[in-house]
Every structure is written in structure tokens, then in C-alpha cells.
Symmetry: C2
Subunit: 118 residues, 2 copies
């Protein structure tokens, strides 16, 4: 998988992972988070390397189907992009700002943006 | 249902409705969007009033379970609250602002906020 694909899978997992079976979640976490190889995961569960591969593919397809139905990752990404734009505009204003009170308000807005769970 | 409960059900439906069965979605839309009564929906599908009631309750519980598992509505609401705060801060700055260029930038930020699919 390419970097973008891995990042997208990770985001899909973050959103919809709890809808997968326990086994699918275990395998995905060992592969994507612990970076174990297919063979290592196969050993862990006493199943074939092919079995691990199939579990991963089935889980990824399930995640993609959830996104096709719900589109919540895409909605989230749009919101994140918009907030990124706002953040840059605030930085621009802060860089030019000479008024102390305005600077304080801009700092407060930055704090709110930073606190967002993105 | 109280107003808050109805609003919450509507938000849950907006997020997870596509995971319900077609029949559940039809009944929920007739009840919550078209404002038909249970009896009217019962006539529509040639089922009992109790059947409609049960379908609605089952669907609502399914939506609540999705939210318990995924928490995406809650994540979205937090983000919306934060953006509301930013919006009010920007309004405060704009009200005090005398510099034309700053005012233009603030207007741009308001545009981005308004464009957000919330």
C-alpha cells in the first residue's frame, strides 16, 4: 500500500473500526499499528499467512463500505481542511497585529483550534 | 419525545441512517420528516400500529448503539461547539476592527466558517 492508502485505511479504522469483528480488529492493529508481518500475525493466531491476508482484505473492504454508505471520514476531512484554512488566516492576522487586545483574542482562537480533536 | 431527544435522533439518523434496513429508514422518514402518525404509517405498509412503533424503537436503539460504538455524533458536536466559539470571537474582533485589510481577512474567515457542512 502507498502512504496515502495507509493513511486512509488508518483514518477509516479510526472511524469505523468498532464495527469490525474482534478478530478483524486484532489483526488490523497488529499489522497497521504494531507493524508485525503477515507471518508473525499468522504465528500469533495459529492460522495461515493467507488467512491473515484474507482477514485484512475483508476488514479493509468492510471499512470502505461503511465509508461509501456514511461518508463521515470525507465530511471530517472537509471540516479539517476548512479549519486549516482558518488557522492560516489567523496566523496571517497575528503576524501583522500590533494591538495587544486583538493579539490576545487571536491567541484565544488559536487555542480553540488547537483543542479540536482532529 | 422531547425536543432535545428528537433533535438527537435526527442527528443520529443523519450520521448512521444508511446502516439501518430499508424498512426502518422508510418508517423513520415518514415519522420524523413527513410527520405522519403511527396509524398513517401502519396503513401505508399494511401493518399494525404496534408494528410501526416497534420498528421505530428498534431503529432508534440501533442508531444509539452505533453512536455508543463510534461516538462520531459526539465528536462532531464538539467540533461544532468549537467552531461556534471561534465564530463568536471573530465577530468580536470584527466589531472592534477599524483596519480595512484586517476587516477583509475577518470576512474571509467568516466565509470559511459559513461554508462548513455542519
Amino acid at each position: 500500500m502507498e502512504f496515502n492508502e495507509i493513511a486512509q485505511t488508518s483514518l477509516l479504522y479510526d472511524f469505523y473500526g468498532q464495527l469490525l469483528t474482534e478478530r478483524q480488529r486484532e489483526v488490523m492493529e497488529l499489522y497497521h499499528e504494531e507493524n508485525l508481518t503477515l507471518s508473525e500475525i499468522a504465528d500469533e493466531f495459529s492460522i495461515s499467512r493467507q488467512g491473515v491476508h484474507d482477514t485484512l482484505k475483508t476488514a479493509e473492504k468492510a471499512l470502505q463500505r461503511y465509508e461509501e454508505k456514511l461518508g463521515l471520514v470525507s465530511r471530517f476531512q472537509e471540516s479539517r481542511q476548512a479549519i486549516g484554512k482558518i488557522d492560516r488566516e489567523i496566523d496571517g492576522l497575528a503576524a501583522e497585529c500590533t494591538d495587544k487586545r486583538t493579539a490576545e483574542k487571536l491567541r484565544k482562537i488559536k487555542e480553540i483550534i488547537d483543542s479540536l480533536d482532529q
